[in-house]
Amino acid sequence: MGSSSSSINHIPDAEKLMQETGFSAAHIFRLYERFEVLDRDGTGQLRPEDFGAVRELAMNPIGDRIIRAFFSPGQETVDFAAFVRILAHFRPTVTNWTRDGAQTEPANSRTRKLKFAFQLYDQDRDGKISREELLEVLRMMLGLQVTEEQLQSIAERAIQEADLDRDDAISFDEFRKSLEKVNIDHKMSTRFLS
């Protein structure tokens, strides 16, 4: 994948993004192509409707939340840099390209991945998954197959298991602890080049 920097010259801040996120030039190039496909009106910004055009995402039980996760709170649009930064969470951890002087934790570290998943639950960003937030997600995932009582009991059980400080909500640390046996690096990674 030699120096394809010539092809990414027209991508804004490509080098900086590469450094920040650890994506290679080829990755950036491919993501940019995809960004352009999604950005149908060519404004260089993505809106929720653009994401909605991805048909499979519409059928995903938590599709809305995923889309919302791309947008920072209060923002209506996503530019390419933000797009890439979000996707950087899903890089496999084993293929960290060497970077010099990385001060901040890489985006695809286990903690950052878990944080991303945590925020899918925690919509009000208070750092805790309350019972209602958990129930909402459960409802989305389990759909119409299950009665409300069953949902309640599932949520109850989940909170019981994870909630160590008995505040009837799951904090990020408790969340992380409950997933310690799961191979997050594998589960939350995807290869970005076919």
């Binding site: 496909v37 938590i62 995923i66 899903f90 009582e149 009991s153 059980r157 997933l179 046996k181 799961v182």
Partner: protein, 710 residues
Amino acid sequence: MAVLWTLSLLLSACLFWPACLALTPPAELPQTHNLPPSLGFNSSDGGLSVDLPMALRVFSVDYHHVQAPFEIVLWIMLASLAKLGFHWSGRVPAVVPESCLLIMVGLLVGGVIYGVRHSAPPTLSADAFFLFLLPPIVLDAGYFLPGRLFFENLGTILWYAVLGTLWNVLGIGLSLYGVCLLAQSSLGDVSLLHCLLFGSLIAAVDPVAVLSVFQEMHVNEQLHILVFGESLLNDAVTVVLYKLFESFLRLPSVSGLDVLLGGCRVVVVGLGGLFVGLFFGLVAALTSRFTSRAQVIAPLFVFLYSYLSYLTSEMLHLSGIMAIVACAVTMKQYVEANVSERSNTSIQYFLKMWSSVSETLIFIFLGVSTIQDVHMWSWPFVCSTLLLCLVWRATGVLLLTAVVNKLRRNTVTFRDQFIIAYGGLRGAICFSLVFLIDDFPKKRLFITTTIVVILFTVFVQGMTIKPLVELLDVKRKKRALPTVSEEIHSRLIDHLLAGIEDVVGYWGQHYWKDKFEQFNKKYLRRFLIREDHQARSSILRVYQELERRDQRGDEEAPALVDPRSHSRPLLPEEMDSIRRILSRNLQNFNNKQTPAYSRHTLHQDATLDRTRKPLHRHQSLGERYTYNTQGEDAEFNGSRRVRAGLSRSHTVCSSSPRPFLQDSSAQSRGPVVPTTPPAREQQISPQHAAPVGRAPKKQLSFVLESEKQP
């Protein structure tokens, strides 16, 4: 004491049976020595009869009349009794795999027959093996194949199966030729093609032997599916190479074009078998759609179509094993949705039964067949073959894994590689193939060598693999009970990743699965599944059964959940129902928790999705037999104990890392008219106690581990 009992049982079986054979005059061996008399078709002249001169015969014995089926039944009886004895024989099963014991029984029987008759005992004819004994085993394996795990690892499996086999075949063949050249004096007349032919049949890893040994070990499912999948799929390569070299032997000369055509043949054979299987699988699924009015014969269709697919592909010289596996995998989900619960159970039980019998017979015959009239022995040839098999397999696995690990995310560790290499057992397929070779001077040598290799791999490798595994501490399947949180969050992450991959437009691990699922839902299911069974999902059915059972059994127990009582600890049955809901409702893409295949236990996952299987709830052995559901408070204890009993019978080998009690579903699906829960539990428990007698013994090594469960 149990050992004595066993031995006496075996001895009586062994003596009773040859006595029958001894009654018949020795069969005339048909034609040459090369085609040993096939099983059960010895001709004999006449029967005995008690003659009363000039009067009616009051009592006569006409053995000749029933000879063929009689002998077959006796063989099967011997096999089954040996198997029973095996399970009753104390600590032996823990050390010696069943296959070894069966071969030893076979040796014993063969020796007895030889001693009595002074001629070779009946051996396993290739036809009987390929047409009757092998299909049930492969069908059973295919039907219970953990589909998702298999397809996830398909690339790796194919890599090992195709390239690995090629590597082994060429390596062994060429090296053996080198050995023959070196030992010109004794082995000079073995040509290169003969060596390659021999290599092709000896290199193939045998699914029967592999399965029977891996049963004893609890390795993680990924490893299991790799070895098992490889042994299944390399059939295509093996058969083609074998036939190829055989036809080359008949040709006056071999050109490059022939080799190229041979390569194409591999593809054709493999894919052809696959398509034949697919076709029959779909037809079977369609047929099962209409069986609602004649439910009793529904299982029959499963067997008939599978067997048809096997025979058809054999007829077309395609890979029968691939056909039957493809057929089973294809039709399974539709058949399960279409036929009644009892039919499902019947299908599964019959599959298990037949495959058990087949496997036992195969091993016994392997033992019997080693007692031959003429063995040709050659130290250099035999020893070098053994050595080369090991060496080439080891190097092959190492090299292939080095390459494939770069492309996989779940790397195959070194320990896994060792198990793959060491677990490459040879079995009856090699044996049958070697008999089919056209006659040539050194054929006897090949037969002897094959037998030695098989015996060596089964005995030595089979017996030592478990200690070695323990030594190397192969990453066993995790046994901790998964928490509900884990499951929920894992599913969320699965959905998340699927979504991300959609955003990226990348065809990740979910893409093809999703595509197939969509296609499946839209077209296949609507076409192949009965109308009224489509709407309700399996989870709802099970859940309703569960609720019904709960409510019927114990009025005092809360219906399911009182939403207001937040802090009450959940009852186990509620826990089970929750788990069930989660595991079935939540679309799970990366479901690695499917149970591995097990020959001897029937996993009652008679529903579309696979539930996780119980690992163990270890209570003492006595509990299974001493439950009393009425006396204890609530259904809680009784059902818990019954579940324990049921779970024990399922635990032997194939357990998932996430144990999951689904015996409630077993109960609700059990072949019992739901009357009252206690009665049903009673009926189910002994029923499940029957199939796996050795489960209690097996638990010993795992009691400690399970105790650590939170």
